[in-house]
């Protein structure tokens, strides 16, 4: 009833004040359709440091009750990002990482290790479970939904699929994704390899847990560059459009976040210290 009365309020206002009443009527129909969809707040960032992005995401997941889509067009410096359970000694070539002073972050979501830079594109979706009907708050259900969403974005690009929980073109991975699920909400976030520096891949070891389709390939044989398949701006706009089919989108500025996310919350994303990395390397040396 509330939504119905909202619709008629919109209709009456627009017909009285629009000047062109038929166009105003069409605008109200579109906005009425939006009223049936749950709201999704959209934050567009460019070059935001990945640590700052992850802190924002963890805050919005835990201290906000609204849905969020965060798009960050590149990050400022090359940074290694490990999942919650990642062990530096097992995942990183610590000598070069420390020598080149590459920042290492442990994030609040699961999954593996990525090295991101200004070429990487980030898309994060934070949803209330009740606003995505048909999706249970469990990893495979959420990923089936996200796989379908990106299927719309890449529709027409040959070979796109969600394969053993990776986004791939054929048998080459181009996006690393991960999730965190709390009582009634979840986040699914992805770092898309628009382009990458082969030298940066050398900081990462071959992980012990790999999908079967990887077939012992090293990083450069396993991943591919998204820029070979789609234009950057095209990807961003198609993603926002695909999300907009399921949610009523509202742009929000970063400066206004405080009004949406209040109070204390668990903070687990952090930058590892040089001492921690040195201890990790010492531990490896001793065990060797």
């Amino acid at each position: 009833m509330f939504l119905f009365s909202r619709f008629f309020e919109e209709l009456i206002f627009t017909r009285r004040f629009s000047g062109k009443s038929s166009k105003g009527f069409k605008m109200s129909i579109s906005r009425a359709n939006d009223l049936r969809l749950p709201l999704m707040n959209l934050i567009r960032l460019k070059g935001t440091p990945i640590l700052e992005q992850l802190h924002l995401e963890e805050r919005l997941l835990r201290a906000s009750s609204e849905n969020w889509c965060i798009v960050n067009d590149g990050t400022n410096v090359p940074t290694i990002v490990m999942g919650m359970s990642g062990k530096p000694s097992q995942l990183l070539e610590l000598g070069p990482v420390m020598k080149d002073q590459i920042p290492v972050i442990k994030r609040f979501t699961g999954g593996g290790t990525v090295i991101v830079d200004k070429s990487t594109l980030f898309v994060s979706l934070i949803c209330n479970k009740d606003d995505v009907p048909g999706v249970q708050p469990y990893p495979r259900s959420v990923m089936a939904w996200s796989g379908s969403l990106y299927g719309e974005v890449f529709g027409g690009v040959n070979g796109f699929q969600l394969r053993e929980n990776d986004y791939v073109f054929g048998d080459r991975k181009f996006g690393g994704n991960a999730q965190s699920i709390i009582k009634n909400r979840w986040i699914h976030h992805t770092s898309f390899l628009w382009d990458y520096n082969v030298r940066n891949m050398a900081y990462l070891k071959l992980p012990s847990r790999v999908p079967q389709y990887r077939l012992e390939r090293d990083h450069t044989e396993f991943v591919c560059r998204m820029k070979d398949y789609i234009e950057r701006s095209d990807f961003i706009e198609k993603t926002v459009k695909a999300v907009g089919k399921q949610f009523a989108m509202k742009q929000v500025n970063l400066e206004d976040i405080d009004s949406y996310a209040k109070g204390e919350h668990v903070k687990s994303t952090r930058l590892l210290t040089m001492e921690e990395l040195q201890e990790a390397m010492s531990g490896t040396t001793q065990s060797a």
Binding site: G134, R140, A178, I181
Partner: protein, 156 residues
């Protein structure tokens, strides 16, 4: 399914409790209490043992990591105290009752898969000293929890 029922029967016999078989659904043990966020609790005097249910482990997939709380930490009913990682996702574990952590299952650090293979026995996660025994009344018994799981699965 028959193998899972046989496993559940052995567990029940060891724990001296009866079980309810839910057809094709996951195993639910009687005499435990359950939270809507799919944790189980076994209360013994002023102590309680927690874990996640068979329904939860089945939906989560292979658990590869369990984040355990520190000893002595307070936990509150309905609030997160740790997490499990499975299929690239961290999932909060919420406390079914309030109390103080007196023991954690360190074995899960090396063998997180016990949460999948033995969710009600070897895969227990923490033990607490209860701060309010009355809180358990807010939890579901096995019949209510079984129905809750069926309704939840039916929606999707």
């Amino acid at each position: 399914m028959a193998a899972r029922f046989l496993w559940a029967s052995r567990v029940a016999s060891h724990l001296k409790i009866s079980i309810a078989q839910r057809g094709f659904a996951s195993v639910v043990l009687k005499d435990l209490k359950y939270a809507e966020s799919h944790e189980w609790v076994k209360i013994d005097g002023n102590k309680a043992t927690f874990g996640i249910t068979d329904h939860a482990q089945d939906h989560l997939g292979d658990v590869v990591y369990v984040e355990l709380p520190d000893l002595g930490r307070s936990v509150s009913q309905g609030e997160s105290f740790g997490a499990v990682e499975s299929v690239k996702a961290t999932s909060d574990i919420n406390s079914p009752v309030s109390g103080k952590v007196v023991e954690v299952n360190e074995v899960l650090t090396e063998s997180p898969g016990l949460v999948n293979t033995s969710p009600y026995e070897d895969g227990w996660i923490i033990k607490v000293e209860l701060s309010d025994a009355e809180e358990a009344k807010k939890l579901m018994d096995s019949d209510k929890y079984s129905k809750f799981c069926e309704e939840e699965d039916a929606k999707h």
